[in-house]
């Protein structure tokens, strides 16, 4: 590859560009108007403004990106994650234009993007999916047989609509008749259709995913699992590998299913096969993430590979040089996602200027960051700021290292998740490995940052006073960078003002 256009922004664009530079391949950044000083623009060898802030006009603007690649002589595109990463039309356009798309082929991507189709394909290939069945009538004996076959508890829900209407958990067969009748009644009244859907109910499941890597010559390996059970708003915020829930046997079994999924889909490049793992050790295929994932660094730390460089090599047609039997997990890695969000207010995103950043350093600490002192966090894009990744010999040590690194991660000017995450990785249930997708709602629903103690209060006031006395050196004095005007204060207008939280 002669030149790679990176069709993304933020930390992942930096991540990809670093790999390119280390491989001796020049990079082209694309950016929207407010991103002209962004880190990915600073790092790239060339940078081209491709449009206005709304993603559709810039980072999602397929034709503009293709035109930029051609104009700048880029023969390959790396899409990062998000934006166009899993858009089969974009992959196809690249293929048509003779530009190497660093990711799977458009056909595999299209198949995996269609949830119904991919479920069918995987069931046919013997991949376990969450058992379920549709029933029009109320033949409770038949339903009971189905439920017994898939194993209690099961979930009965209205097929005709969502919102949890009519939904019930059935834990034993004797509850079945009554629950099914109630559900059908409610379904009929809410959606005019009594059709119900029976699905295996998975209590406090873990989110387990397997990283795979596939070349264009039919070779597929898996790079073991990541556990991503710690989620807020169904989005991962803490990931780790290995998972405490996997025995060597289960790991091997899930790994070979992951490889089978990739082969069945004709998948190439790096990808992730997602599973739910229930408390009995049964696992169910969910979907394939057809891209490099946010949490790929923990796999890199434990397996000892550079996934982005592997992506580039595989995309350019190289054979995988690694064999499944040579791969080993070593030590333990954890990633915490640093978001511009307020964990005290339902993870409300917080745009604004970052006045000061100091990133943690030290052995086993990696910080993939898209921010810097003076940068502006835009309202237009995903609020991810950076990813803090630690590796250590054991899970216990990795948790402690993460807590220490989070404490050393200073971001001033906007609210972030650092303090919240430090409490998560030090929570007794987390330390015990009792992680599941309901962890945050269960343990952290009402998390508040502890207020300052007496001496912290004194030191905070004193620091503010000392800083204001010497403010010449403060960020206000940075000229252009600090030239933002103050937003009109809502309290000067009449009446009572409330800066609304979200519900």
């Amino acid at each position: 590859m002669k030149k790679i256009l990176v069709a993304n922004r933020g930390e992942i664009a930096l991540r990809v560009m670093r790999a390119c530079r280390e491989m001796g391949i020049p990079t082209v950044a694309v950016y929207s108007t407010p991103d002209s000083a962004a880190l990915h623009v600073q790092f790239a060898d060339e940078a081209v403004c491709i449009g206005a802030p709304p993603p559709l006009e810039s980072y999602l603007n397929i034709e503009k990106i293709i035109a930029t690649a051609k104009e700048r002589g880029a023969d390959a595109v790396h899409p990062g994650y998000g934006f166009l990463a899993e858009n089969p039309d974009f992959a196809r356009r690249c293929e048509e234009e003779g530009i190497t798309f660093i990711g799977p082929g458009s056909e595999a991507m299209r198949l995996l993007g269609n949830k119904v189709e991919s479920r069918k394909t995987m069931v046919a290939a013997g991949v376990p999916v969450i058992p379920g069945m549709m029933a029009g009538g109320s033949d409770c004996a038949a339903l009971g047989r189905e439920a017994t076959a898939m194993g209690f508890p099961v979930l009965v829900k209205a097929a005709g609509g969502g919102g949890g209407k009519g939904m019930r958990i059935i834990r034993e067969e004797k509850e079945l008749e009554e629950s099914v009748s109630s559900c059908m009644r409610e379904a009929k009244s809410a959606f005019g259709d009594a059709t119900i859907y029976l699905e295996k109910y998975i209590e406090q499941p873990r989110h387990i995913e397997f990283q795979i890597l596939a070349d264009k010559h039919g070779n597929v390996v898996h790079l073991f699992e990541r556990e991503c059970s710690i989620q807020r708003r169904y989005q991962k915020i803490v990931e780790e590998t290995p998972s405490v829930a996997l025995t060597p046997e289960l790991r091997q079994e899930m790994g070979s299913v992951a490889v089978r999924v990739a082969k069945t889909a004709g998948y190439t490049n790096a990808g992730t096969v997602e599973f739910l793992l229930d408390q009995n050790g049964s696992f169910y295929f969910l979907e394939v993430n057809a891209r490099v994932q946010v949490e790929h660094p923990i796999t890199e730390a434990v397996v000892g590979l550079d996934l982005v460089k592997q992506q580039i090599r595989v995309a350019s047609g190289e054979r995988l040089s690694i064999k499944q039997e040579d791969l080993r997990q070593r030590g333990h890695a954890i990633e915490c996602r640093i978001y511009a969000e307020d964990p005290e207010s339902g993870f409300l995103p917080c745009a604004g200027r970052i006045l000061f950043v100091k990133e943690p350093q030290g052995p086993g600490v990696r910080c993939d960051s898209g921010i810097f002192t003076g940068c502006e966090v835009s309202v237009h894009y995903d609020p991810i700021l950076s990813k803090l990744v630690v590796w250590d010999e054991t899970r216990e040590q990795a948790c402690r290292r993460m807590a220490s690194a989070l404490r050393d991660y200073i971001i001033l000017g906007i609210k972030t998740t650092t303090s919240f995450l430090a409490d998560v990785v030090q929570h007794p249930a987390f330390l015990d490995g009792k992680t599941h997708t309901g962890f945050i709602p269960m343990h952290f629903a009402d998390w508040k940052m502890p207020g300052p103690g007496e001496s912290e209060l004194r030191m905070a006031l004193l620091s503010a006073a000392a800083f204001s006395r010497n403010a010449r050196g403060g960020p206000k004095a940075r000229g252009k960078v600090g030239a933002e005007t103050e937003a009109p204060s809502p309290w000067v207008t009449g009446g009572r003002w409330r800066i609304a939280g979200i519900g």
Binding site: P349, C350, Y381, D408, L412, S419, A487, A500, G503
Partner: protein
């Protein structure tokens, strides 16, 4: 020197004398001494009461952002006469202007002027950073005015809707 700050919902006053990096301070009734060394553009090492602290500080628009022991605090400079903000909560008693909690684009305004809304009703949906956020009423109220419509861009603190107590008309 006298510094008046608001921390959370509390007003705090720091009275301090500084001489060559040594500060003699009073906060509330408590007096303490501290040695303050500026170790970088945004950081201080403070030794006080035999303990050592490292703090990071930045300022914007009269608001100081302080990091200390891995926690962030914000401290607003006031004239010393700023009013104590009452805690939010309970039923709506006076008029209220509901302001945008973040910059963003209005997706939906499910309420209309004059409508009576229940506590927790969604007033406005704002999209910010790829996510839709529901702005809800904190108590039963009548919608007095709606300032925005779908597609509008709003800044932090922009007025979205004004609410008034239901009792005003229905009483």
């Amino acid at each position: 020197m006298e510094f008046n700050f608001v921390v959370g919902d509390r007003e705090e006053k720091l009275i301090a004398e500084e001489k060559e990096g040594l500060w003699s301070c009073t906060v509330g009734d408590a007096a303490f001494e501290a040695e303050v060394v500026r170790v970088g553009p945004n950081s201080f090492r403070i030794v006080s009461g035999g303990k050592s602290f490292v703090t990071y500080a930045a300022e914007q628009d009269g608001k100081f952002y302080i990091s200390l022991g891995g926690r962030q605090y914000s401290v607003a400079r006031t004239s010393g006469a700023a009013k104590r903000r009452s805690a939010v909560g309970g039923a709506l008693k006076g008029e209220e202007v509901v302001a945008a909690p973040m910059p963003g684009v209005i997706v939906k305004v499910p309420v209309t002027e004059g409508e009576v809304v229940a506590a927790d009703a969604v007033l406005v949906v704002v999209e910010s950073m790829k996510m839709e956020n529901n702005i809800r009423a904190q108590g039963e109220a009548r919608v007095k005015r709606v300032h925005v419509k779908a597609g509008d861009s709003v800044n932090f603190g922009s007025a979205l809707v004004e609410l008034e107590p239901v009792s005003k008309q229905s009483a």
